[in-house]
């Protein structure tokens, strides 16, 4: 997987609002239609901790939908910058690759 993509996916998943840990993983899996299942959970935890340390996301205790206490992750103001940057990088890359694969007729 491309460098920085995991971070991008986590940050993007948190853009609409806070979610608890497992929900993020599930959302990525669900949205990618399980294509990204290769991404095992341990990688996800590792990335999360790294992002917390960099203050891109913050953690808060909360209660999940079925009344279980759980950790909620939230995108911070500081995290929006890398999200923006990585998104733009991806768009550019995707656009470029698309142009190469399907040159304008």
């Amino acid at each position: 997987m491309l460098q920085g993509t995991r971070d991008l996916l986590i940050l993007r998943t948190l853009l609409p609002g806070p979610r608890y840990g497992h929900a993020i993983a599930k959302a990525i899996e669900f949205n990618s239609e399980v294509v990204l299942q290769v991404w095992s959970t341990d990688h996800f935890i590792r990335r999360c901790h790294r992002q917390i340390k960099r203050s891109w996301i913050s953690v808060k205790e909360g209660t999940s939908e079925n009344n279980r206490r759980s950790k909620f992750y939230r995108l911070t103001a500081k995290g929006r910058r890398p999200l923006d940057l990585e998104t733009r990088k991806w768009d550019k890359l995707a656009g470029t690759i698309a142009r190469i694969l399907r040159p304008a007729e």
Partner: protein, 874 residues
């Protein structure tokens, strides 16, 4: 930190939650609970690894690994105590020498004078250019100072000081102290206040109101026991009563202008007379106005000086001004800053040589450790990690060297402080030498920096090590060999350069010492007496009587062989007078012959054993009634009577006042005496009889029958028997006079010799190490050769040859560089003479001998090895 602990504590719960939820999802998808849990675990991945990784995210990995490196390095160093000891000692020498010299530079360049806003306090001096030189630190005359002060607008206050020796008495033994007559706003302009009492008030510079005195902290403590009730007490300064009004803080030491007491400067009518414009004796200080730059002040003073020169051409023609901050003024002092530059370069060479040694040792060791490194690499250590570990070892060695290095530096600094005593400037500089925070930081920084310098090469080598090669038994390292040789070549070249310059300085110093003084310097005691007090004021016959009586007392003592007085001692520059020579054309005013003169008592030449070459010496008949006799020295005779006998010829000495201008008959010619150490061409002088020209300021010279230094008290008693109120100052043997005149040349030579010695020792260790190493490497080859019939001598010769070829390149490189040294040193130091040839021959020979010995010892060992042992050696 708290967050870190919480995150790690909750990690297990997080992992569990993920797995549980996944299990639940799987159950919902229809798996059996067991299957669901298994699938969830599989999906999760490696639990232990994620824990470790997360811990790494949160721990400061860098710090942890550093601690690990340090621990490992300490263990490695403990395992090879010999290597560690050599390394620490080598570095201690390098770091210690550098720290000691830095403390000197630190004191010299970074010190600030103890005044308010020191950068804006200027020293304004007279400047005179001519005779192929420019002197810009000359004192100022009183009328010029008053004109400057009235006309200059760039300054917020301009003050003058006349620094001189004063005799203080009153109660205790009379004592000569350095002191200053200062303008009443002197302390105000400098921006310093008294710690006790007050400084000098406005109006106290008027004649009649000037009987106050301010003491330095040192004088207050030494002479008055730091008595807090001292204010109001009356002491005698040069015989006049002065009331103590204040004591200055201990920190107030004005470097080159240090004084132990200050009295108000009230100009006498003579000092203000028109002719006195030519009598330059004042030091002028001025504070720049806010917003005015030093450059603007210089420009303004130039204009003023030009104006004064035009108005008073007879006294001021050719005289300009120089404006410098006190700092600049002191740094430009003579040869001191040049000497510091040389010393700094010399010690950095020493450190470089030490680093080269370390690099060599480490390279040799890294071969031995190749196996270890290969194993560590195989177990997963990255190359960067290995290199970093080696560098940590270097850093620890270096810091280990900094400890004893600082101790060495401390001893060195103490020795320096004790030896820097040849004049006020040197003493004040010596006081700034101390182990302060800046010096400590410097020591740490250079040890860290040298760790990188000497650790880098071996670290690069290690990180390039081929894994497979390393695990196999290694024979190799052609490249390492070459590196080691290069390092040794560099060491030898550097130590040769150091040794050559040290020899040049020593040579120069010895030449000074050996240079014939022109008289017998042994067993001579000297002392200086300046008569102070009303009874001597304007009474030359009383002054003459004092010295005559003192000489008679001395002559009666059994210890005395002979005694005399002179206006100036040898190895100092005497005052000068204009004169005319009989029978030679009357010169134009600015081509007037002028030379130094001495006023001496009758036995002067006999006492110092200055040879009488022609005619006679002075005798008691040369008294003031028949004062028409004069004696000249050989240089004078040669210059003015090149082809004729000077005896019986006449000189007219121009006294200025006109009254005593009369023709004097030359009655004798004596040998030359030098004005400074190592002087090659003696300058002409003449001698006038003391009885005819009595003066209140004379120097005693006493030739003793035994040890001169032990006669100090006898000399004082004999003088005080005549007048107990006079200070007997600067009691020194003639050897002491000469040492003081050396201005630290001996110190410079000693220091350079010490650095060169250290450098040579380090370089020899370096050669020894490399040759032993090469010999060890060739052990196998030797064994084969010897079994095939080579003689032990041949083997030894071959080892020595391989070492000496390396040494030879180093010597050649060093010698080529050294060729430039004699000229460089002579150009950098005023009055430096040394015959370069001996230094340029001796230094390479010494280095070559050291290199040979360093090769010989391991080569001999190689020769003695049994062929069978050598063959088995691996």
């Amino acid at each position: 930190m708290r967050r870190r602990r919480r995150m790690l504590e909750e990690l297990d719960a997080d992992i569990r939650e993920h797995i549980e939820r996944e299990t639940q999802d799987n159950v919902e998808r229809g798996m059996t609970p067991e299957e669901a849990r298994y699938a969830a675990m599989r999906k999760f991945g490696n639990v232990t690894l994620v824990k470790e990784d997360v811990r790494e995210v949160w721990s400061s990995v860098w710090l942890g690994q550093l601690l690990q490196d340090v621990r490992y390095a300490l263990r490695m160093l403990r395992k090879s105590p010999g290597f560690s000891a050599v390394a620490v000692l080598t570095l201690a020498l390098g770091i210690g020498a550098n720290t000691a010299i830095f403390s000197l530079v630190n004191g010299m360049l970074l010190r600030k004078p103890p005044v308010r806003d020191p950068n804006r306090l200027m020293v304004v001096s007279s400047k005179w250019a001519g005779n192929g030189g420019e002197w810009d630190r000359l004192p100022v005359s009183a009328p010029n100072f008053l004109d400057w002060r009235a006309q200059a607008t760039a300054f917020n206050g301009m003050v003058a000081a006349n620094f001189d020796d004063y005799t203080i008495s009153g109660g205790t033994m009379p004592e000569r102290v350095s002191g200053g007559r200062v303008s009443c706003d002197f302390f105000h302009t400098l921006g310093v206040a008294a710690t006790l009492g007050r400084t000098i008030l406005p109006g106290e510079d008027q004649p009649g109101h000037d009987h106050v005195v301010v003491l330095s902290d040192g004088l207050w403590k030494e002479k008055f026991g730091g008595d807090p009730g001292i204010l109001g007490r009356v002491i005698r300064v040069n015989g006049n009563s002065h009331t103590i009004v204040g004591v200055m803080p201990r920190s107030f030491r004005l470097w080159d202008f240090d004084a132990r007491m200050w009295v108000p400067l009230a100009f006498s009518p003579e000092e203000l007379a028109p002719a006195a414009r030519n009598t330059r004796f004042l030091r002028v200080f001025a504070r720049l106005k806010a917003g005015i730059t030093a450059k603007q002040a210089v420009a303004e003073m130039d204009t003023i000086a030009q104006r004064i020169a035009e108005a008073h051409p007879d006294t001021n023609k050719g005289w300009a001004t120089a404006v410098k901050s006190l700092q600049e003024y002191s740094i430009e002092d003579g040869n001191v800053s040049t000497a510091l530059l040389f010393l700094t370069v010399a010690v950095s060479f020493v450190l470089l040589i030490a680093c080269a040694n370390m690099a060599n040792l480490l390279l040799a060791r890294s071969l031995a450790r190749q196996h270890e490194f290969a194993i560590r690499a195989a177990l997963g250590a990255g190359r960067a990690r290995l290199a970093r570990q080696l560098l940590s070892e270097c850093l620890i060695l270096s810091l280990g060297g900094a400890g004893p290095g600082l101790l060495l530096a401390y001893w060195g600094m103490r020795a320096l402080r004790a030896q820097m005593n040849w004049n006020e400037g040197a003493v004040s500089l010596a006081k700034t030498i101390q182990l302060d925070v800046r010096v400590l930081v410097f020591a740490l920084v250079i040890s860290a920096a040298s760790a990188f310098v000497f650790g880098l090469l071996p670290a690069l080598q290690v990180s390039r090590t081929d894994l497979k090669e390393g695990l196999r038994s290694s024979t190799g390292g052609r490249e390492r060999h070459r590196l080691q040789r290069l390092l040794v070549i560099g060491q030898i070249a550097l130590s040769l350069i150091l040794l050559t310059s040290a020899s040049l300085f020593i040579e120069g110093f010895l030449e000074e010492v050996r240079a014939s003084a022109g008289f017998n310097i042994h067993n001579v005691l000297t002392a200086s007496v300046s008569l102070r007090g009303l009874e001597y004021y304007g009474a030359p016959h009383r002054e003459a009587a004092f010295f005559e009586n003192a000489l008679r007392n001395l002559g009666n003592l059994p210890e005395t062989e002979s005694a005399a007085v002179t206006s100036d001692l040898p190895f100092s520059f005497p005052n000068e007078k204009d004169f005319e020579v009989e029978g030679q054309p009357v010169p134009k005013p600015d081509e007037q012959p002028r030379c130094g003169y001495f006023i001496v008592s009758a036995d002067y030449f006999a006492t110092l054993q200055i040879p009488l070459l022609q005619g006679r010496g002075f005798n008691s008949s040369d008294n003031s009634n028949s004062s028409s006799t004069i004696i000249v020295d050989r240089a004078f005779a040669r210059r003015y009577f090149a082809n004729g006998n000077p005896i019986g010829r006449h000189l007219k000495v121009i006294e200025g006042s006109g009254a005593r201008d009369k023709w004097m008959e030359i009655v004798g010619v004596v040998g030359d005496v030098n004005e400074f150490l190592g002087q090659r061409d003696s300058r002409p002088h003449f001698f006038e009889p003391f009885q005819a020209y009595p003066s209140g300021s004379m120097n005693f010279v006493v030739r003793t029958r035994s040890d001169a230094a032990g006669f100090s008290d006898g000399l004082r008693r004999a003088i005080w028997a005549v007048d107990g109120n006079q200070a007997v100052a600067r009691v020194r043997t003639m050897e002491g006079v000469i040492a003081d005149a050396g201005q630290g040349d001996d110190l410079m030579a000693e220091m350079m010799a010490a650095f060169a010695g250290i450098a040579l020792a380090l370089a020899s260790i370096g050669i020894y190490g490399v040759i032993s190493y090469i010999a060890g490497q060739r052990m196998h080859e030797m064994g084969i050769r010897m079994t095939l019939g080579a003689r032990p001598n041949q083997v030894m010769r071959s080892v020595i040859r391989s070492g000496m070829s390396v040494a030879g390149i180093g010597v050649a490189l060093g010698l080529m560089t050294s060729l430039a040294l004699p000229r460089l040193i002579a150009a950098s130091f005023n009055g430096f003479h040394a015959s370069a040839v001996s230094a340029l021959v001796a230094a390479p020979v010494v280095v070559a001998i050291a290199a040979f010995l360093a090769c010989y010892v391991p080569a001999r060992r190689a020769m003695r090895v049994e062929p069978m042992v050598a063959l088995r050696h691996e």
